[in-house]
Subunit: 405 residues, 2 copies
């Protein structure tokens, strides 16, 4: 086989060698009987591991626990629940998160300190520990279990998000896989709710940290659904070395290939989250080129993708492009009105800061697609970035006005 | 009569002596035949005048024109249209804004340079100048015309916003009046679409500038509807001295009374804008106390009032209070989880960072009111602030998905 990157059919977090997962219905999601809500991701051997966590000043108890444990740079398993965030519940939250790890450790025959914890769901309610104590005994781990885990972490998500990429380079082979969940309270502030990544490559911890940061910066950090962020945001990667490659470190032979594979997995998951945003009917991709620098390109793209007015207009297939340039103006980045070009799909609406006559029907046809691309050329410098989001629909409001009722 | 402040029944921008206004239907709002869309505010004598303008880097042509003319610190009249923002249309926009002033000057027999210009509506479309040339001749000015002006500046607003306060202090009397419009693309970034304020007090220009800034900072700058800002934001105040008082300057006898009256008018208009936010069914008031300082209190209050998840929950009468504390956490202000108290209406939901058992039905009753208050006590310092906004309804999306179609 030739060298290259291939998305694996039905790829998931257990596609890399040595990882197993499973999930059960513990009863944490009040209104959804029989829906998976408690899962475990496990590796046969200790993994090199690192994570990025929420920047919200309110941090859920499992985030605090996992942050503490990851100082070792190692992990063996993750236990995760949906339906309850275990956030803002006082000291009890820490006890409950620790107990989740202890229960898991007992079943797996490993140390509690090798286990990370994650939760997602309603904030300000205590974990129903009786349900978790009972449920955790019913989780069976398997090499196909990634699909179950992808479902167990869903909240308002309508589809599981999972993928894996196989890499072949110079006779070496390894796989990077991942699962993630959206789909509300999503904004680019380090991470985006829950994302678990795995690889059977052997990776040096320092390189793994920088690679994760780089991949997240161009993927999950470029997604916005609604501008809110969660106290539970966690993006974790575990590398177990089972592929038998030489350890990948900064500048080493496989470093770039690993980075590219990780980027691809993270971008796939990021776009999946955006496409499945609460109430979304389509994916929006905003590309900024020619900004003064990279940071300004990122800020401009993120501001446009976050604008409720742009999102509403796309929802209604309304070519109201003025809102796009005004969102850029609000972002505060350097811009010269008379230099801006704007495209929706392939249709140019603004050239050199002047509106171009366009066929409204043609643009409305572009807006009716499942994926809508908006491109801005600033013609100032070499900064470029892409952000993803979704349209704002009446359904978003309906979902979020009845979340706990 | 005793000294004091009184809201004037049916008060408006022409309640202060010497101001006249009027409006007509020029045909600028495509789908709304017979709706006022072009108006003039005029003073018999030259006024001391100052304004605050949008911080959006995209500035509408009328903003650029008015900014330039206000360097003199004087103005006699304002001409304003709705239905078209005259923004992002290239150089033509400047010509059109200038012509609007010239046409008005000719009719009023004054200099074009004494006339300010304002526009609001769709961005990226040229002003239909034929309609404006024709319409401007049909505007009749009167002392009751403030009510017409308040209507002529409406876009998606469902009600006009106007008020006036009469002040009596130590034998002096004067009036402060104002009109404003919302109701989308509203976020606290200096101003909030259009607001015209008048007074018959004699006011020194330097004091007028600082008084306007202070009043706007605690009123219009504390309103958020949707986080977007407009290229047309203008808050103008004109003072004509007709009340015959001694000129008010910083520290002078009437300074504090003038400031209080201006604050009252601006807060009234700010709350009116919030209450009439696009799709709004209720007013939300967020009060932060005990923050480390004023800036942090302002930021925290504004972040909570801007959260689409909080706004959606209030819309659905869902006591999902976790979203409120998490929005505070996202704001980045100093906070200690274990010190926070949270109230919805009079009901305490969190005390010292711990959830308090509460009667859900009682909180849902509070949330069903026309006005919902959310109070946070940080217990850290003396910073306090209040912000206003509205719930996020399906109707917001419906309005904004079909704005130009």
């Amino acid at each position: 086989m030739e060298d290259g990157f291939d998305f694996i059919a039905l790829g998931t977090v257990t596609s890399p060698q040595g990882f197993r997962a499973g999930a059960t219905y513990a009863g944490l999601k009040k209104n959804e009987a029989g829906v998976l809500d408690l899962g475990i991701l496990f590796c046969e051997v200790p993994c090199v591991a690192t994570a990025l966590f929420t920047k919200n000043k309110i941090k859920a108890a499992p985030v605090v626990v996992s942050q503490q444990r990851l100082k070792s740079g190692k992990a063996v398993a993750v236990v995760v629940n949906s339906g309850c965030a275990n956030a803002f519940v006082g000291e009890q939250g820490m006890d409950d998160a620790s107990e989740m790890a202890e229960l898991t450790a007992r079943n797996l025959g490993i140390l509690p300190t090798d286990i990370l914890v994650a939760s997602t769901g309603v904030i300000g309610e205590r974990l129903p520990m009786e349900l978790i104590r009972e449920g955790i005994n019913h989780i069976a781990l398997s090499e196909e279990g990634g699909h179950q885990l992808a479902r167990a972490i869903m909240t308002t998500d309508t589809v599981p998000k999972e993928t894996a990429v196989a890499v072949r380079v110079d006779g070496s082979q390894f796989i990077v896989g991942g699962v993630a969940k959206g789909s509300g309270m999503i904004h680019p502030d380090l991470a985006t709710l829950l994302c678990f990544l795995t690889t059977d490559a052997a990776v040096d911890i320092d390189f793994l940290k920088s690679a994760l940061r780089r991949a997240v910066d161009i993927s999950l950090n470029m997604v916005s659904i609604d501008g809110d962020t969660s106290p539970n945001d966690t993006v974790l990667i575990m590398a177990n070395g089972q592929a038998g490659n030489e350890t990948i470190s900064s500048g080493s032979r496989l470093a770039e290939a690993f980075q590219q594979a990780l980027d691809q997995v993270c971008i796939y998951l990021a776009k999946s989250i955006a496409r499945d945003g609460e109430g979304a009917t389509k994916l929006i991709e905003v590309t900024v080129k020619g900004a003064a620098n990279l940071d300004e390109a990122r800020l401009a793209a993120r501001t446009v993708i976050s604008s409720p007015l742009v999102k509403s207009a796309v929802h209604g297939n309304d070519p109201n492009w003025g809102r796009i340039v005004v969102a850029v103006g609000r972002s505060g980045v350097e811009m010269v009105e008379s230099k801006i070009d704007l495209y929706i799909g392939d249709v140019c609406l603004v050239r050199g800061g002047c509106p171009v006559s366009f066929n409204r029907g043609q643009v409305m046809d572009v807006l009716r697609q499942d994926e809508v691309s908006i491109s801005l050329q600033f013609n100032l410098g070499s900064g470029g970035a892409t952000a993803w989001g979704c349209d704002l629909s009446e359904e978003y409001v309906t979902i979020n006005s009845q979340y706990t009722t």
